[in-house]
Structure formats: C-alpha cells, structure tokens
Subunit: 399 residues, 2 copies
C-alpha cells in the first residue's frame, strides 16, 4: 500500500491499443490500494522517427533543439495514457519534466537528474490520481529541455522512486535479466536476482536492458528494481544489493557484447604522461566515452596507444586526435566486438581471465585489446568471432 | 530595423524541405537588419494526426491531456526550424510556451493569452539570435498547457508583436484577404486593406484565414497585421484601423459562409425570460458558442426558440437542453449554411438587408434565420443554396 513507480518502455506503449491495455493494468493495481506514478517512454519508434526528421534538416542537428524535438515523444505517450485512464472512469494526470521540476544538469542528450520537485505529484496522489510522467527528460537551470540519453526513462523512474520513497518496477519487452543475451545464445539463463554492480557492468557493456545511470542511482539509494514483462505470470529479475559471500560459488554471472565501438590507435607518440593526459582530457571534455585503453611499452621514447570510442562519436573525436598525431599515425579498426564477462564472485576467484583466454586460444579467436575491472573482464575481438565466443564462454561458465 | 514578429502556418512548414526554405527567407530578412521573432504552427497535418490518435483512445478525449498532446506539434516544428537556421550558420533558439512564460487563462483548447515574459526573447535578440516560438500554446497558473484553439498561432504572433512593440506579419497559404472565399467564387476580389472590425466579423463567421482573437488583440493595441504569401511578390492584405468615412461608398466589403453549425429549436417553452436566460447561461458556461438566436412571439404563454451552435458541441449542448425541454419538443436542423455580408460602410447605408432579401426571394432561396450586428447581416440558409447565394450577392455588391 505504498507508492509504486512503474516504467513502461516504448514497445509497451507502441499503439493506442497497447496504451489502453496498460491503463487497465494500472487501474487493477490502483484498486489493490497502491499509489501509482508511471513513467512512459515514447511510443514504439517515435524517437527514431523524430531523429530521422532532424537528420533531414542537418547531419549533426543542433543538440539543444534535438532535445526539444525528442522530448515531444514522451509528452505524447503520457498524455495518451492519462486520457486512456480517464476514459475508463479513473482519475489521472500527466506531467512533463518542467511541470514537476525534474532538475537536470549536464549536456544536451546526456542529462543527469539532480532533483525532482515532488509537491505536485504528492498532491495528485493524495487526490487519488494515477500520475503519469514523461520520461527521458529534464529541465536545466536555464529552463532548457535536456534529455537523458537512450533508455533514460529508466533513470526517470528510479529518480522518482528515490524522491517519493517508493518501490520501482521497470516493465519492458524482455522477461528479466539474462546472463547472456537470449537472442544471441538460446540456452541463456534468466537471473532471479542480480547485484547492482554486476548489472552496472552489464549495462555499460551494451546489455541494453537498463539505462546505466538508473542502476547507479538505485545502488546509491539502495532501491531494489524489478525488471520484467507487464501483464505476465513470468517472474522477472530483481536488481539489488546482494550479499557477496553467497555469490562466491559462481564467478561469472553475466556476459555481454557490443558492436557499437571502434578502436583508435595512435602510433609513435612521445612517451610523455602529460601528452597522454592532455589527449584523454580533451576527449573527455567533449563527453566522449573512452572505454578500453591500452598502451605499449616505450620504444625510443615513443609509444603506441589504443582506445575504443562509440562509433557515433568518431567524427568529433578525430577533430581532437588530429592535434596529437599526424594522419599517417592514426589508425581506426571498425571490426571490434567488445566481449565482457561480469561477476561479483570474480573478486574472489582467480583464473577466470586465464580460463577465458585459453578458450579463445583453443578456438583461434584473436584478442585485440584487454581491459579489466574488479568484477569484469573485457576483450576486443573481431566481429566474426562473436557468436563462437558467446557459445564457448557461456557454456564454460554455465550462463 | 525593428522587431518583426512573423507567423508561418502549418502548410508553410509541412516538410523539412519547406522548413529549410523558410530558414533561408528568415536569414535574408535578418541580414537586412531586422530582429526576428518567428511563430510556427505544427507541420502540415500534424495537429489532425494528433487528434486522431487521441480519438483512438476516447471519443471525447480529456481536454487537459488533449492540450498536452497537441502542443507537441508546435514544439516539433519550432525545434526543426531553429535547427535549420543553425545548420546554415546563423544563430537561433526555440522557445516553448513555458520557457517564455506565455501566461494563459481560460479553458483547455480555448486559452486566452494574458501576458508574455519577454526577458528571454529580448536577451536572445540582443545576442543576435533568430527567436523561434511554438505557437498555439500557453501555460496557465497551475503550469498546465493550454492551447489557443484552431489558428491560435496567429494570436501567439499578435500577442508577441504587442509585447515586443514589433510589427506583425502572418504568412499563410493564401495571398491575402478576399471579399469572398476565392475557392467558392472565382471572381473574388482581394483587398489591399481591411478594417479590424470587418476582419473580425469575417473571421468569426468562418472565413478561416485568421484566428478571431488575434484580430481583437491587434485592434486593442492598434497593431497592423500583414497577411500574405511567404517568398512571393504578390502583395497581401493589411489589417488595420481604417478611417470609416472613406469606406462609405462601399457598403459591403466581405462575404463569408460557414457550414460548421446546426440549428437547434425548442418548441413550446414557457415565455419566461428567466428560463431563457437560464438556458443561455447554462450553455454559455460550457463555453459553447451560441451564434444566431431567434424567438417567436408568445402564443398561449409559450414560445419557440431557435439558435445555432457549432456541430461539434452538439453532444454537450444536448445534455443541457434536456433540462429545458422534452425530447419531442427539441428539433435539430443540420442543413444550415450561415451566410454573412460584412461592411463598416453598412453602418451608414440603409437597404443592404432589404437588397439581400430581395435577391434571395427572386432566386427562391429560403431564409431560415436572420441576425444582424452593426456591420454584419447573417442568414441561415439551406446548404444547397450556398453556391447560388454567393454568386448573386457577390455580383450585386461587387465583391
């Protein structure tokens, strides 16, 4: 009988029929006595359609205006869902980011929620209304609309759950979190529970189920998140803080791959820590997300440095890199799959990396780059080896 | 070299190609030294598409939510136009209603602009930006989005011109104001100048070129409005206060028809002024726009009352009427064309009505209802007589 914050993804609200069905589900839940705050994504492919409209205007649409444009998708779906609930005789109200002061900082398209004014929501809940909130968007101190990045509605939901001290339920088109993407590996096992840190590693590695920032926020405030199908008896996955001792028996809980990056290599640059730090600072200042970094040992005071960046940041990144190396010393490898295994148990289990590299070697999979964190090992491999790598690693670690 | 407020209608921004062309036009004008504030409507049929989406959810969509939904159309087009200007290397910024505090009161879908906070716009103009404003929308004191009704972007533009002390230009898909709708009467004459009051009568009578409220506002603050085609050498029409003495020679300057109304007749209701005033107050309180009213002389203390209402208000209106008359005493006539002639000169010219009725009678056109104002005569006739009526009246009064 508390406050429940739910989020419905784009595929759940793709048509007016689906929106009506969600209205029914919400009304049933409301009748059980819960106060509902519901975050919705844009309908189906709306966000993609809006982006393609912008691309007709400009190859690199102005980011402030792109955020204004994209924010309309969620406004539409939240107005329609509120209408659908009212049509069925129950009370509801939709709120956009500025109406409930979803205060956001950071760059356009990459906003971070700082705070939410909860007065209006609390009043509406007291009046018995189901509150529908446009996800994916906030307002900065200039009153500009800032979107939160792909999947940002998850973060809207978690932030609301934190602010309203409610529980958080994310309804999506998958029935939970899997140790491996079930579309890529048919024997993939669904997890009942996953730890925040594991989920964070999986999310940041391209397992697109959840927006990374939403997991960080949930972890910070220790809010459990339920992820699953709406209107289904199939049990989903709970993301929460897990007692690490219980997990030692299983070193690897998840596997994720991503084809969204390219590898950049700069050859023969001076082995001067200032130059490298300048390079990464310059790239970082543009909020370009550098992931894997490796550097060769100096030879004649020169080093080679490789790192991966998201494909769609290539153009902007190249502008910066050109100040650090001449064209003939820059090489780009677009044939990159980031292949990662994740597990909290890894902290206490040696040999996971060794076992993985042995498997790769036995199967003639060439590893181009390697990075590790406490609970993650990531290799860059060729895209043609991806399917095979998933198969053998998932099998080995029983995922 | 002052502030110019322009408005572009939906057909002018129907495609991204057209939006790019408007960007070029604006840049050219900006280079001539004018400060530009540009109000845009939603692209092409966007508003209709949004309404049809809402109708899939509900026959009578909740009005608050319908306004949220509809306001997204203008947000989209203003973001895209701003993008297009920036893409061409000029600076621009888009503003939604809440960002520039377009303060609005009144009912959802029928908002009236009370004030606009001009600080942000003035700052942006000072920074050399072309300011793009989402038309058709405002924010009430609760922070709810209120749309201004069909054509409301005209009013957004005039209100901005008033607030910014600028001149006002409305670009649309017609090349000016005609004495008769040129689609209905091919000899129609375009006017160089039309008086506010005449334009107001024409607008309120269904000549859909301009939003009535925009003319009222322009008249109140004596702001001339230019109406015409964008990117064209064809001279449009200026709407302004006209010296009435100069117009006496022409009693009728315009003719308008509308098929958007139905006539409601209540039979045998008590001849009691309290009942009638109650009836019209009840209908008025729902903001249903009653237009023509006629009442028969009392017979046995009973009267018949007829009036016209917009077709799409019929359902709501019937709910009220049922408290005043039994079903068998209510009749609806859907075969109504409102046929009006307008002219400031009419104030000083007798015989216009007489001449018109003589023409109708000679041509077997049956007049169902009549109302007049100081500068207007309106008859309800059968829709089948509309074309003939336009022909003979336009010819008689040289329109």
């Amino acid at each position: 009988m508390g406050i429940v914050v739910q989020k419905y993804g784009g595929s759940s609200v793709a048509t007016t029929e689906k929106i009506k069905r969600i209205a029914d589900t919400l009304i049933k839940r409301k009748e059980q006595g819960d106060d509902l705050v519901v975050v919705v994504s844009a309908m189906g492919d709306t966000t993609d359609d809006l982006i393609s409209l912008a691309k007709q205007i400009s190859k690199n649409p102005d980011k402030r205006e792109l955020d204004v444009l994209m924010s309309t998708g969620e406004m539409m779906s939240c107005a329609l869902l509120s209408m659908a609930i009212k049509e069925k005789g129950y009370d509801a109200v939709s709120y956009t980011a500025y109406q409930i002061g979803i205060k956001t900082s950071g760059q356009y398209g990459k906003g971070l929620i700082d705070d939410i004014e909860d007065t209006k929501i609390s009043e509406s809940l007291k009046e018995g209304k189901i509150v529908i909130v446009a996800g994916f968007q906030g307002i900065n101190e200039d009153g500009d609309i800032i979107t939160l990045g792909r999947g940002g509605s998850d973060t809207s939901a978690v932030a609301l759950a934190v602010k309203l001290k409610g529980i958080c339920e994310i309804y999506t088109d998958v029935d939970g979190i899997y140790s491996v993407d079930p579309r890529k590996y048919k024997y993939a096992k669904k997890l009942d529970v996953i730890d925040y840190e594991e989920m964070l590693e999986l999310s940041s590695l391209g397992a697109q189920v959840m927006h990374s920032r939403s997991i960080e926020l949930a972890q910070k405030y220790n809010i459990p998140i339920y992820v699953g199908l709406s209107n289904s008896d199939v049990k989903g996955t709970i993301i929460k803080g897990v007692d690490k001792m219980n997990l030692e028996s299983k070193p690897v809980t998840g596997l994720a791959t991503s084809d969204d990056d390219i590898a950049v290599t700069l050859k023969d640059i001076d082995a001067d820590i200032n130059i490298l730090s300048n390079l990464f600072e310059s790239i970082g200042s543009k909020k370009i997300n550098i992931d894997m970094i490796s550097q060769t040992a100096p030879l004649n005071d020169k080093v080679n440095v490789s790192f991966t960046i998201p494909k769609d940041e290539q153009e902007e990144c190249m502008k910066i890199i050109k100040n650090f190396a001449s064209d003939e010393n820059i090489s780009i490898d677009e044939d990159i799959t980031k292949f990662s295994v994740v597990g909290i148990g890894m902290k206490n289990t040696s040999g996971v990396a060794a076992k993985m590299f042995k498997l790769f070697s036995e199967n003639n999979i060439n590893v181009k780059m390697i990075t590790t964190s406490e609970i993650r090992i990531t290799c860059a491999i060729s895209q043609q080896d991806k399917a095979k790598a998933i198969q053998i690693v998932a099998n080995e670690f029983n995922l």
